[in-house]
């Protein structure tokens, strides 16, 4: 079965005065229809830029300089802007990180939902409104027929994110890109939204790419997880396997820094150093300067090592070796 979304060798760079920021630097990713893929990485690892690249929404000075993004076999890099506009919202929807900022403050929810429907379908305003109310009901907004007349500031953060999700689901897109949609919410709301998303994706059969810095969240949600570091994927595999036995030292570091796994009262370990400046990455493995097990070999480009079917790691010295090869 061919992939719904296939990204190969994607490079999105920002040409700034200080130099070229390689936000996404050789990303390979495939998403199958109906699949939930988690992309995990620290701030600045390029995960948000990667999802904006798919929609062709990278703000200048950012630009896709190389690689290919195929959606249902159709090349999106360099595609006609009008074609991209028709795909956005209809085939590929996106949910943003900060629900307080995603809805236009001066327009009613109704206006924003109806226009989203009518951007892609010729329907009467009345029919569009009825559909919008239905969509709000589906994401669990009480009294949607009244609430649709409200302005965004009259909703709480969690409710606004539900509205954003309702908008994303309006056209039953084949692919939803969710850019840390629960990060700005408090933990109980986060759980609810995660649950709703899982349910809705299962109902509609949409594929979901869930970008997050939180490996625990991704593990509970995703079928497959990709760990991103400095603009590329360093480890990929089924969620439980990656969490149970991380192969890349960076994934290991991320897991060690999570509370819960460690003994109560024990100090959490942290990854030393900071995400490297994407302005001047060292040659070879970009994680090497922070890696506890780095060797001289890490100064050269690490190979992609397949560990198991569907599991690979980009490392000279993966923590998990090929089993029963």
């Amino acid at each position: 079965m061919s992939a719904l979304l296939e990204i190969t060798g994607l490079e999105t760079h920002f040409h700034t005065r200080a130099g070229v920021v390689r936000a996404v630097d050789g990303l390979d990713l495939a998403v199958r229809a109906g699949e939930i893929v988690g992309i995990v990485g620290e701030s600045g690892s390029g995960k948000s830029v990667a999802s904006f690249s798919v929609l062709g929404l990278v703000d200048p000075p950012g630009r896709i300089v190389a690689g290919s993004i195929r959606f249902r076999g159709e090349e999106l890099v360099g595609a006609d802007p009008a074609r991209l506009r028709r795909l956005r919202g209809r085939e590929i929807a996106m949910i943003f990180q900060d629900p307080l900022m995603t809805l236009t403050p001066v327009l009613r929810i109704e206006t924003q939902m109806v226009e989203a429907i009518r951007a892609h379908e010729r329907v009467s305003a009345k029919a569009a409104r009825a559909r919008a109310i239905e969509a709000l009901a589906r994401v669990g907004i009480p009294a949607p027929a009244e609430r649709i007349r409200a302005y965004p500031h009259q909703f709480s953060g969690g409710m606004r994110q539900r509205v954003a999700i309702a908008i994303a689901l309006l056209h039953s897109p084949a692919l939803i890109l969710a850019d840390e949609p629960t990060t700005a919410l408090d933990v109980t709301i986060q759980g609810q939204i995660l649950y709703e998303m899982q349910r809705l994706v299962a109902e509609t059969g949409a594929a979901l790419v869930w970008v997050s810095h939180d490996l625990a969240v991704v593990e509970s949600l995703a079928d497959r997880v990709c760990v991103m570091y400095a603009g590329r994927i360093v480890e990929e595999g089924p969620a439980e396997e990656v969490v149970a036995a991380p192969a890349h030292p960076y994934t290991r570091g991320l897991l060690d820094s999570l509370p819960g796994g460690a003994l109560a009262g024990a100090r959490l370990r942290q990854i030393p150093g900071m995400t490297p400046s994407l302005l001047d990455l060292p040659p070879g493995c970009p994680f090497a300067p922070r890696c506890p097990i780095a060797t001289a070999a890490c100064a050269s480009e690490p190979p992609i090592v397949a560990i198991a079917p569907g599991r690979s790691v980009r490392c000279h010295a993966p923590l998990v070796r090929q089993e029963a090869a």
Binding site: R85, F96, D98, M101, T104, L107, Y151
Partner: protein
């Protein structure tokens, strides 16, 4: 809303009272009108009679009290110079100033906002630099100099437009205005442009800054991610967001243009309120100055009220009648 307007009206009354007090005291301190009004060879008896006739012999508090009591009945005093009620004098001149001010603001709006929008959408482009540079000229060249240059170029060199006066006026809806005749409009173009140049520059700057501030916001990106076309995003999402601050500034500027069109009116010999007030200050024509300032204060209050109401209509997060 009703509560809001009632409270505003009460506040307006207090403001007018305060302004009248300041104006009255200020004028009292400036000088004695009898010195200016009377011929140099007036006798002491003539002088005494004039002072009594003008009511200047009474203590200031009494004068103020009389002034206030009359003002409440709509009588803001009689001009020392013209010997007609000062309020009549002002209302005679007001249409000329209002049409000038409104035309200037209209020019600022229809030229400044689109240019600012365009520049803001394409920051760093050649058009942007050209527009911004133009707005710097609009800001920094002195208003009177701009006026003189307009006359020099369009009236003297090219001979296209008249340089002074109001031209032929007609009446539209019972108001006497230059806009009613072609001759009047020709007379209006140069002074209105002169008055508008600074405001155009201001509108360009303001709109450009607002657009540049709004475009990178998430909701613009989200609208794009919904598949909205750029024209609707700019026209509705961004347009409505930046409309509120633009309306606010427009309102404030309208007030200041009405009140302080003095320079333009002087250069173009425009028979508006600005010229009247300058003449009245020179002649120490107290009732006219006081009445003028009160009328202008009132205009500002009304404009501010309108702006507040518009603001609440444009930005739903602003609710009237609630204390900040």
């Amino acid at each position: 809303m009703v509560l809001f307007i009632v409270r505003r009206a009460l506040q307006a009354g207090l403001v007018l009272l305060a302004v009248s007090l300041v104006v009255f005291t200020g004028l009292y301190a400036v000088g004695d009108p009898a010195d200016i009004l009377l011929p140099d060879d007036a006798t002491a008896a003539e002088r005494e009679a004039a002072i009594v006739a003008l009511g200047l012999d009474r203590p200031i508090w009494t004068q103020y009290g009389i002034f206030l009591a009359n003002a409440l009945q709509g009588d803001l005093g009689t001009s020392f110079v013209f010997n007609i009620p000062s309020i009549t004098l002002i209302f005679q001149r007001m249409p000329a100033t209002l049409e000038l001010a409104l035309c200037a603001m209209l020019i600022a709006l229809v030229i400044g906002v689109p240019l600012g929008l365009y520049a803001g959408l394409k920051p760093g482009s050649r058009a942007d630099s050209a527009i911004v540079t133009g707005s710097i000229l609009g800001f920094s060249l002195p208003n009177f100099w701009q006026g003189l240059m307009l006359i020099l170029v369009f009236s003297i060199f090219l001979g296209w437009l008249p340089s002074s006066g109001r031209g032929e006026t007609g009446t539209i809806l019972g108001i006497e205005t230059s806009l009613a005749t072609w001759d009047g409009i020709r007379h209006l173009i140069l002074p209105a442009t002169n008055l508008a140049l600074f405001k155009v520059a201001l509108m360009i700057r303001l709109t450009r800054a607002q657009v540049r501030e709004t475009m990178p916001l998430d909701f613009v990106k989200f609208a794009r991610a919904k598949g909205m076309g750029e024209s609707r995003i700019v026209g509705l999402h961004v347009g409505k967001t930046i409309a509120a601050p633009i309306v606010t500034v427009l309102g404030m500027e309208l007030g200041s243009v009405i009140a302080f069109a003095v320079i333009t009116e002087s250069i173009f010999a425009w028979p508006g309120m600005g010229k009247l007030i300058i003449d009245s200050i020179n002649n120490l024509d107290r009732p006219v100055v006081a009445a003028y300032l009160l009328v202008v204060t009132f205009l500002f209050i009304v404009i501010n009220l309108v702006v507040d109401v518009l603001y609440s209509l444009l930005d739903p997060r602003v609710r009237l009648g609630r204390r900040a």
